[in-house]
């Protein structure tokens, strides 16, 4: 421990991001997460090459075939190869995670900056609104939003994005508050820097570390939330091989064909685990204060 601290002092002048990257590569869980995510991305990109069958085409005479050499993970209620569907499903899950978190990030950071930087009434209004959103059971809020917009994957992503806004807003706001009054911001202002410049040059970079960690972890929860919505029939629509949607078809055949329910669930765990591991690794790497492993 002491050794690494000294190390940090010595390299004070090097790029902090490079330093963080180096630390990430030293953490076992961080690497594990990275490996899983890279694997997922490769699977998603190479899906047409990897998948043994068409993920969409139905074959109703081959329903509920147990795992065999022909269908490694069996077939579902419409005779489709589950392995092929899981492979293609990785595309959807990655897309959902990235898009909905990007949405949350955009609005969350915006609200957080506005609230933190301008303070006063604006701050109060924004943060009260965030409190109100947090007081909702998030899954019910998401269901309500999807019911308004219509059940489609796109709308599920929007709903997930919305329910994750407050978390980002809070992080950014508190980070802005912590340095807003600091001398170097005052100095920047005295030198004639405008609001925008201060925000993007000074405040935002300061919030970067917690934001990156939160983004990674939020991708994990977003994938879970999307799977839950699809499971309830509110997300991806058939014949899309979204992992949660695959599970929703599996309920009625739990007894007859448990493999239909088992494997998409394992795929979800695998994908979510990847982002959670990376998030943990990043937290350790970016925030030495929270470093406790």
């Amino acid at each position: 421990m002491a050794g690494s601290n000294e190390n940090r002092v010595m390299k004070k002048n090097t790029n902090p991001w490079l330093e963080a990257w180096r630390r990430l590569l030293q953490s076992k869980i961080g690497i594990a997460g990275l490996v899983i995510i890279i694997f997922l991305i490769l699977v998603a990109l190479l899906a047409p090459v990897l998948a043994p069958y068409d993920p969409i085409k139905t074959n109703i005479i081959a329903r509920y075939k147990a795992p065999s050499s022909e269908h490694l993970l069996g077939t579902d209620g419409l005779g489709r190869d589950i392995l092929s569907r899981i492979i293609y499903g990785s595309r959807i899950s990655l897309q959902v995670g990235l898009f909905s978190v990007a949405l949350a990030l955009l609005f969350g950071v915006g609200f957080g900056l506005l609230a933190g930087y301008y303070g006063g009434k604006l701050d109060m209004v924004i943060m009260r609104f965030m409190d109100i959103m947090l007081a909702f059971p998030s899954i019910l809020l998401a269901i309500g939003i999807v019911a308004i917009l219509g059940p489609q994957l796109k709308n599920a992503m929007i709903a997930i994005g919305i329910i994750n806004v407050p978390r980002f807003a809070r992080i950014v706001r508190s980070s802005v508050l912590s340095i807003k009054e600091s001398e170097y911001i005052s100095a920047a202002r005295a030198l004639g820097a405008g609001d925008l410049r201060i925000i993007f040059k000074h405040l935002l970079p300061n919030a970067m570390a917690p934001l990156i960690v939160q983004t990674t972890l939020s991708i994990a929860t977003a994938i879970l939330e999307a799977a839950a919505l699809s499971f309830l029939g509110l997300g991806a629509q058939p014949p899309s091989p979204e992992w949660g949607a695959m599970l929703s078809d599996a309920r009625s055949s739990l007894q007859k064909a448990p493999w239909v329910a088992t494997f998409p669930g394992l795929a979800i765990i695998f994908g979510v685990l990847g982002f959670n591991l990376l998030g943990d690794g990043l937290r350790d790497a970016l925030d030495p204060k929270m470093k406790n492993v």
Binding site: T58, A147, G150, L234, P239, S252, Q255, K256
Partner: protein, 519 residues
């Protein structure tokens, strides 16, 4: 010869005594009925869902009833009736000596009070809900029932403002169960939790969201029910409910998932009962959306879908392919109609003829919830999508939650959609007019020709003329092909093998007072 007959007769009598002796074990026991949802309310006129009717039917009786297993009408609280020459005045003679569960007598006053409460919006007890089914079957408030008159203690007379051919059939519907006026007055808005009828069972306890417990009415005017107690348990998930049946914690269940039918059939301790079909599941094409205004395209779709394969895969074989919009169990069914056979080649030819040899793309709305006529909408939607891709057409699957789905199809927003219908009263009008007349159709099918036939049939009281008219109507519909009629399903009910004498009704719910449990 006569001697032998007499001997046979004696043997029969002895046997029947013997059999009755065995049957003595019938009395008693508790039946646990597993179902998909809780009862909404126990005031039958205020509810619209099968899970409520399933229970209210045990607590209440109607003036007339459906003979078990059919939609024929037989006497119940009314012993006999007559209708005037002009078809506007109906007179019912009521059963003597019937009492409500609270001890109050059932009589003409009580009947009048119930009907007045339902139909008159200024009645002091026209409260506690919207009286939906009354408005629906009798066309609003007060609707076509103009007067209800007490002739004497046991005779009541209905005066209608216009003829209604299925009037008697309507009165047999579960929502029109007769409640104790005193109980309604006592409980007001909370009557739905404190039901009092004349039926074979009384309410013992209702744990909302969980179960309803009924106890046999010792004073029932028919024979006392065999079962002492019936428990209706709500277990929303079909497969979870089936597991409960397998583990023996429930005795019977409806909403059996097609995936589980095989397991019921192969298990010694379980058996299957099939509800006679009075429904249709269909795939409709909206005339407002190109190219569905072209009859060749609609016929092409009719040729493109293999109904039998769908039935084998998603109904466990428990349905028959539909060629008409109404099921064969209903009188007036036109069996001479030659169905559009499954023939993708012919479908492609028709599309080419219509100028769509390269196909086209459109939205296909699939059912978001399991319904008796289409238990697995999502699967069937995908199957139809596949069949259509075979003829070069691309369907994008779309759905909404149930309420929105109905709202949007009602407003003709769906280019193509799956939907269905379960009959109310066993009359062809209840299918053809309600679903396909130009005033009702959701797919902008507005055939003047059909409208004339259907309206004429509504106003005709003569049965044979009506049959002819409905036969003709089905021909018109077949020619225009506004739908792909998919199936008439026979929804399966799974029971433990010791549950005896359960007779499912085509209407969807039935009385359980003749059901008994064997050892």
């Amino acid at each position: 010869m006569r001697k032998i007959t007499l001997t046979t007769l004696i043997i029969l009598v002895v046997m029947s005594v013997f059999v009755t002796g065995v049957m003595a074990q019938e009395q008693g026991g508790t039946l646990v009925f597993g179902r998909g949802g809780d009862t909404v309310g126990l005031d039958p006129i205020q509810v619209t869902d099968g899970e409520s009717f399933k229970v209210t039917q045990q607590i209440y009786d109607t003036l007339v009833d459906y003979t078990p297993g059919t939609t024929e009408v037989e006497p119940a609280l009314a012993t006999d009736w007559e209708v005037s020459e002009d078809g506007l005045t109906w007179t019912f003679n009521l059963r003597e000596g019937v009492e409500f569960h609270d001890g109050n007598p059932f009589n003409a006053e009580a009947v009048k009070w119930n009907f007045d409460r339902w139909r008159l919006e200024d009645h002091p007890y026209h409260i506690g809900g919207e009286f939906t089914y009354y408005g629906y079957m009798f066309q609003g408030f007060p609707g076509i029932i103009q007067e209800v008159n007490v002739v004497d203690d046991l005779t009541v007379e209905f005066v209608l403002s216009e003829k209604q051919a299925p009037f008697l059939n309507n009165l047999a519907m579960v929502p029109f169960g007769i409640a104790s006026p005193e109980a309604v007055k006592e409980h007001g808005e909370d009557y739905f939790k404190n039901p009092v009828g004349t039926g074979a069972y009384t309410l013992e306890e209702w744990r909302q969201g969980d179960r309803v417990i009924l106890k046999a009415n010792e004073n029932y005017w028919r024979e006392r029910a065999y079962l002492d107690e019936i428990v209706f348990r709500s277990i929303p998930d079909n497969s979870a409910r089936f597991m409960e049946l397998q583990s023996g914690t429930i005795d019977m269940m409806d909403g059996v998932s097609p995936e589980d039918v095989e397991a019921v059939e192969s298990a010694d301790e379980l058996k299957l009962s099939l509800r006679p079909s009075m429904n249709v599941g269909y795939f409709a094409m909206n005339f407002n959306f190109e190219p569905f205004d072209d009859v060749r395209v609609r016929r092409a779709f009719n040729h493109a879908i293999d109904k039998q394969a769908i039935i084998d895969a998603f109904y466990a074989g428990l349905a028959e392919p539909a060629k008409n919009p109404m099921p064969p169990s209903i009188w007036g069914y036109n069996d001479d109609i030659e169905p559009y056979e499954y023939n993708p080649e012919k479908a492609k030819e028709l599309l080419a003829e219509a100028g769509y040899e390269d196909g086209f793309e459109f939205d296909l709305w699939y059912l978001p919830v399991p319904r008796p006529y289409i238990p697995q909408g999502k699967f069937i939607g995908q199957a139809i999508q596949s069949y259509l891709s075979e003829i070069g057409v691309t369907a994008n699957l779309v759905t909404y939650d149930w309420s929105t789905y109905l709202d949007k199809t009602e407003h003709q927003e769906a280019p193509t959609y799956m939907l269905g219908w379960t009959g109310d009263n066993g009359d062809p009008d209840n299918f053809l007019y309600v679903l396909l007349d130009k005033t009702n159709s959701n797919n902008a099918y507005e055939s003047e020709e059909l409208h004339e036939v259907l309206v004429e049939a509504q106003k005709t009281m003569d049965q044979e003329t009506r049959v002819e008219l409905y036969m003709e109507a089905q021909e018109i519909i077949h020619k225009d092909a506004p739908w792909v009629p998919l199936v008439h399903s026979t929804p399966p009910i799974a029971l433990k093998s010791n549950v005896e004498n359960y007779v499912p009704n085509p209407t969807g719910t039935e009385k359980l007072h003749r059901v008994w449990l064997a050892e």
